[in-house]
């Protein structure tokens, strides 16, 4: 991996058990700064669990998670975004009754936690600094068509992007994207890919859970593959579909050999 000295996020020996059920076992991998890394695997492989562990929604049963060499496990979920970790969700979790720009302003919260910032009006007498910033960000991302509209009425693809913009508003170092292309059609996926590439160019590290292999190959350079909570592959996205363990995970042991030559689409 390039620039292995500059590791942004590092997981080592991460276990998560719910009662007797082991969801991730001994998962270790590093995300270099500036990387575009994919986290893939069949349903139930533990991808979203890894996200939930990183964002602090769950606590690992064992193992270490470090950001820039410092453990983040002592920080409650609420404080992780302040460390520079922001995320999107598998099912869009925007606040449905808030407008687009209000959702983005929520993303800025981590920079506006003082009592004074909490009690200053956002848009009562003209535009506040926060509102102006949020609108500028939306414009930059090409989403300035409907800043004042309530999110619930917008099309699915637009809401997907707004959720990413909300995460960006926190100015994160690491952006966790949970199935950004789920439910999008071809054209929307294409537009999203360009959108995410733009974000990556601005210096944000991406860790993406995704089933759409087309998007994974186009967007990400490296991939980590999980199966039944274990890491079975780590390396370039170009060769991931040739790996026997990965093929076995997706297609089952009997089909793996037969499919190896022909399969171009895993998942």
């Amino acid at each position: 991996m390039s620039g292995s000295s500059d590791v942004l996020l590092s997981l080592s020996g991460v276990w998560k058990k719910f009662g007797g059920l082991t969801v991730t076992s001994d998962v270790s991998f590093d995300v270099p700064r500036g990387a575009r890394m994919a986290l893939i695997g069949p349903n139930g492989a533990g991808k979203t669990t890894i996200f939930n562990l990183i964002s602090g929604f769950y606590e690992p049963t064992a193992g270490k998670i470090e950001l820039e060499g410092r453990s983040i496990l002592d920080y409650p979920s609420r404080k992780r975004i302040g460390l520079g970790i922001a995320r999107s969700f598998q099912n869009i979790r925007l606040m449905p009754h808030l407008s687009v720009v209000e959702n983005v302003m929520l993303g800025q919260q981590v920079h506006a936690n003082s009592v004074l910032d909490m009690l200053k009006p956002l848009s009562l007498f003209g535009r506040s600094r926060w509102r102006a910033e949020a609108e500028a960000l939306l414009e930059e991302m090409g989403l300035d068509t409907y800043p004042g509209e309530v999110v619930a009425t917008l099309p699915y693809g637009v809401r997907k992007k707004i959720e990413v913009v909300r995460a960006l508003a926190a100015r994160p170092k690491l952006l966790l994207l949970d199935e950004p292309a789920a439910g999008l059609n071809g054209a929307e996926t294409q537009s999203l890919t360009e959108f995410l590439k733009g974000i990556s160019r601005s210096g944000v590290t991406l860790l993406v859970v995704e089933h759409d292999m087309g998007l994974v190959r186009e967007l990400c350079d490296t991939a980590v593959v999980l199966n039944f909570g274990k890491k079975i592959y780590e390396g370039s996205t170009a060769h991931v579909q040739e790996d026997p363990l990965v093929l076995e995970a997706y297609l089952g042991p009997n089909h793996a050999k037969a499919a190896k030559s022909g399969a171009s689409h895993v998942a």
Binding site: G107, M118, L122
Partner: protein, 309 residues
């Protein structure tokens, strides 16, 4: 102005303040079914200090706000760890305990009630109601208000975005309790008399329902709910007697009962509640409605049906 109208304005002002008192916690996703208890606290604080220590209304009002807010914080801090059913039960129980405690305290007049010396006329409650309304509109326009609404919509994500959901909820609950205290103090001084029976469970239910029916997505909703349900019985006053004789006839009870007028108000509120929960559970005034009314000339986008994923 006639006494009839000043009376209505007074009760309207108190109802509006109570509506905001309950609206603030509800806007963060916490049902407060103990409004009457906090109102009783304020009313008795004002009554006690003006009767026993001769404090003027300008001193008892802030005092009642303080007492309401302090008890609000004291209750909210331990209780807002629990949610949902537990919080509803706890606030309801708190109101009953406050009512019962007052009833059993000699110094507060027990069942006899207390008379309150310093009388205020309708401009004072009306002025207070206007201030409270402006305050709540302001609050909802701040980042704190944004955090409140976010906590209501999705507390998990709100937390991940760096908002202290519990802090926001405790603060909103306590500010609400302080406002209820203010409403109580105004009640005490406007009616010159308080008795604990006035602050019963039905009052708590009534206030919560008109807030929910008005709508809790914007600060406009509780105002509308309070005004509507205060003025409705006045409008109905003329046609109610006919209803009454009809229903008495229907039940076959003859002429030997004297149904209180208040019952009708509650039946109508109940019916509206049940219907609203079916057809428009988000309340009458919603965010989208306000947006549409504010900019009637921009073409409205069609609401897109969400595709199930």
């Amino acid at each position: 102005m006639s006494g009839y109208w000043t009376g209505i304005l007074t009760i309207l002002a108190i109802n509006v303040i109570m509506a905001y008192a309950i609206f603030l916690p509800v806007a963060t996703g916490q049902l407060n079914l103990g409004g009457a208890g906090f109102q009783a606290l304020g009313a008795y604080t004002a009554a006690y200090f003006s009767a026993n220590y001769g404090l003027t209304v300008w001193l008892t009002l802030p005092l009642s706000i303080l007492v309401g807010g302090a008890v609000g914080i004291a209750i909210a801090l331990p209780l807002l760890r629990t949610k949902g059913v537990y919080l509803v039960l706890a606030t309801f129980a708190l109101a009953e305990v406050i009512g019962g405690a007052i009833l059993n305290t000699e110094a507060l007049g027990g069942a006899m009630g207390l008379s309150v010396p310093d009388y205020v006329d309708y401009p004072v409650p009306m002025g207070a109601a206007v201030l409270v309304t402006l305050f709540c509109f302001y609050l909802m326009a701040t980042r704190f208000g944004l955090a409140m609404r976010a906590a209501h919509d999705d507390e998990v994500v709100t937390d991940l975005l760096g908002v202290s959901v519990r802090g926001v909820r405790v603060a909103a609950f306590a500010i609400g309790a302080a406002l209820a205290g203010l409403a109580g103090a105004l009640y005490a001084h406007s009616y010159s008399f308080v008795e604990s029976q006035s602050f019963n469970a039905t009052l708590s239910i009534y206030v919560l329902l008109y807030v929910l029916l008005g709508g809790t997505q914007t600060a406009l909703g509780p105002l509308f709910g309070a005004v509507f349900f205060t003025l409705l019985p006045e409008v109905l006053r003329s046609i109610l007697p006919e209803f009454k004789s009809w229903i008495v006839l229907a039940f076959g009870a003859g002429g030997n009962v004297s149904p209180p007028d208040e019952s009708w108000r509650f039946v109508i509120l109940g019916l509206l509640t049940v219907l609203m929960m079916i057809f428009r559970p988000e309340g009458l005034i919603t965010r989208t409605l306000v947006d549409r009314l504010c900019s009637p000339f921009t073409p409205r986008r069609r609401v897109l049906r969400e595709v199930a994923v």
